[in-house]
């Protein structure tokens, strides 16, 4: 029982420390400027904020539709051979270390294109995101009472309309919370981005060029020897941590309100 409380200490300590170090860094200037070169004070993390936003948005566009469709398929046809192997693959994919995903995407996309790019980063993140979306969609839809579907079918509604108009809306909150959890998970991923999005000290909108992201900025600046850069990294950590924790708490509230078991 004592041990159970001790374990909450790391979270509280990390949280307080990051807030203490980070909150003084964050102001409007910090959010809207690119990092300053060594020796100059000031500078911000706008490039990383924008980069994270673009990359996560792109990976969501790829992963969410595919994930939801696969999830619907798995929950509708749980006993086919294809579903069995797909389920197995989802399990495997969930266990793949993120760094390995980075390597693979490097060979799939970075090498043929000849340059590190934001696209490759978002594909790596999409691969990490897929299993979470699939599993949460599948599990939510499985919990729906079959009578709902049967009632709709008995009214003569075609099968695809049943899925679109009955199944998906009923499980919507569960699917949504799965999506939010997966976003909270991938926005903090660094390892797959090391060899794909790579990082970029300037503000960049080009998705075929290297792009900075929050976790990567923290990594490069935290391991640098300069105090100014450490401060930048603390500020960035503060923003990243707040975003991730708020997204998680928000998801919790949704699932509690809609009474969903994930």
């Amino acid at each position: 029982m004592f041990l159970a409380f001790v374990i909450t200490l790391p979270l509280i300590i990390v949280l307080l420390y990051i807030i203490k170090q980070g909150v003084t860094q964050v102001n409007w200037h910090f959010l809207t400027n690119v990092p300053a070169p060594v020796g100059e004070t000031g500078g911000g993390i706008s490039n990383a904020l924008l980069g994270s936003l673009i990359i996560v948005a792109m990976s969501s566009i790829v992963a969410i539709p595919v994930g939801i469709l696969t999830g619907i398929y798995l929950s509708e046809n749980p006993h086919t051979r294809l579903a069995y192997y797909s389920g197995l693959c989802v399990d495997i994919l969930q266990g793949v270390p993120s760094i390995v995903v980075g390597i693979v995407v490097y060979f799939w996309i970075v090498k043929p294109l000849g340059t590190f790019s934001a696209i490759s980063g978002s594909i790596a993140l999409a691969i990490m995101m897929l299993p979470i979306v699939i599993r949460s969609t599948e599990q939510t839809l499985r919990l729906l009472p079959p009578s709902l579907k049967e009632a709709a079918l008995s009214l003569g509604v075609p099968y695809h309309r049943v899925i679109l108009k009955v199944i998906v809306p009923c499980g919507f909150a569960g699917i949504l919370s799965g999506i939010m959890l997966s976003i909270a998970r991938i926005i903090g991923e660094t390892a797959p981005l090391l060899f794909t999005a790579f990082g970029n000290p300037y503000l960049s909108y080009a998705i075929t060029k290297p792009m900075e992201t929050l976790p990567h900025l923290i990594y490069t600046y935290a391991t640098s020897p300069y105090d100014d850069w450490h401060n930048l990294a603390w500020g960035a950590s503060f923003i990243l941590l707040m975003f991730v924790l708020l997204l998680n708490i928000f998801t919790k509230l949704i699932t509690r309100k809609w009474n969903i078991q994930l």
């Binding site: 001790v6 793949v96 270390p97 995903v101 991923e189 923290i218 450490h230 950590s237 990243l240 919790k252």
Partner: protein
């Protein structure tokens, strides 16, 4: 999905072929990793990965068991238990890079002064520091699974034991523990799979040296390297084919190990929840 997984596997194998061909199976226990001389041996990284993961497991098991038993049996309802459970889940949500950053600036000085006291070389960074952070990161996985499993113990079993005059501790020891043993073991396996593949926090804290330590003390408190961290550090610097593909072969090994561990863990859980 199938395509994706098979594709990942094939890419890894094809790209690591040059090193498999030129280095053979001896790659796995070659003790020297020296890219300048073109000598590659994975032994230091295998040892590093195993050492960090197992130390982390040993540290984390008492905590995760305590949490599972406390929240599963002693205090399953109420605001305190809800608060604790949600906090534990939030621990899992913190990005690993932030643990690494925090560990580098807060944990490392603490460990350094600790190492001075027990008279080992005060690096601060090293295998032990990474294991500590890893332990914090993997506790939530084993714990949240453990809570679910302990709550699934059928109440007739527990009530029967209570009716025979067993104390709460005896019920936990002789009814709940045996009943959930395989499930708790699976939770440990899943957190092991997570610890093996963890990259960023470990890369920042382990010190990144490819030398093999001579004494046990050095191996635990000195700097080291894991498979994931060496890939993260050297992948973009690898300048010739064999070097690069040796790194990818490490990735391949990592892929197989984590996948197998994960699948075994998942199998056990499915079996447990179905029976």
């Amino acid at each position: 999905m199938l395509l994706l997984v098979v594709g990942i596997l094939i890419t890894l194998i094809i790209e690591s072929l040059p090193s498999i061909k030129s280095l053979g199976i001896g790659f796995l226990w070659g003790k020297v990793w020296d890219p300048v001389q073109n000598i590659y041996g994975a032994y230091p990284f295998l040892i590093g990965t195993l050492l960090t993961s197992f130390i982390a497991l040993i540290i984390s098991i008492p905590f995760s068991y305590a949490i599972s038993i406390y929240l599963g049996e002693y205090n399953p309802k109420g605001w305190l238990s809800n608060l604790l459970k949600n906090t534990i889940e939030l621990i899992a949500a913190v990005p690993s890079i932030i643990y690494g950053f925090w560990g580098l600036f807060v944990l490392v000085p603490i460990i350094r002064s600790f190492e001075m006291k027990i008279h080992v070389a005060p690096y601060g960074i090293g295998v032990f520091t990474s294991s500590l952070i890893l332990a914090v990161m993997i506790i939530p996985y084993a714990a949240s699974l453990g809570i679910t499993l302990i709550r699934m113990v059928p109440s007739p079993l527990k009530e029967g034991a209570y009716a025979l005059g067993a104390t709460r501790f005896e019920v936990i020891r002789s009814v709940i523990m045996p009943y959930t043993r395989s499930g708790l073991f699976a939770g440990v396996l899943l957190s092991l799979g997570r610890a093996l593949g963890e990259t960023m926090a470990v890369t920042m804290l382990i010190g990144n040296t490819s030398a093999v330590a001579n004494t046990i003390k050095d191996a635990i408190f000195g700097p080291g390297n894991t498979m994931a961290s060496v890939i993260a550090n050297e992948f973009t610097e690898a300048d010739h084919t064999v070097y690069l593909s040796a790194l990818i072969e490490l990735g391949l090994v990592l892929f197989f190990v984590t996948v197998i561990i994960n699948l075994i863990g998942k199998r056990i859980i499915t079996k447990f929840t179905n029976s």
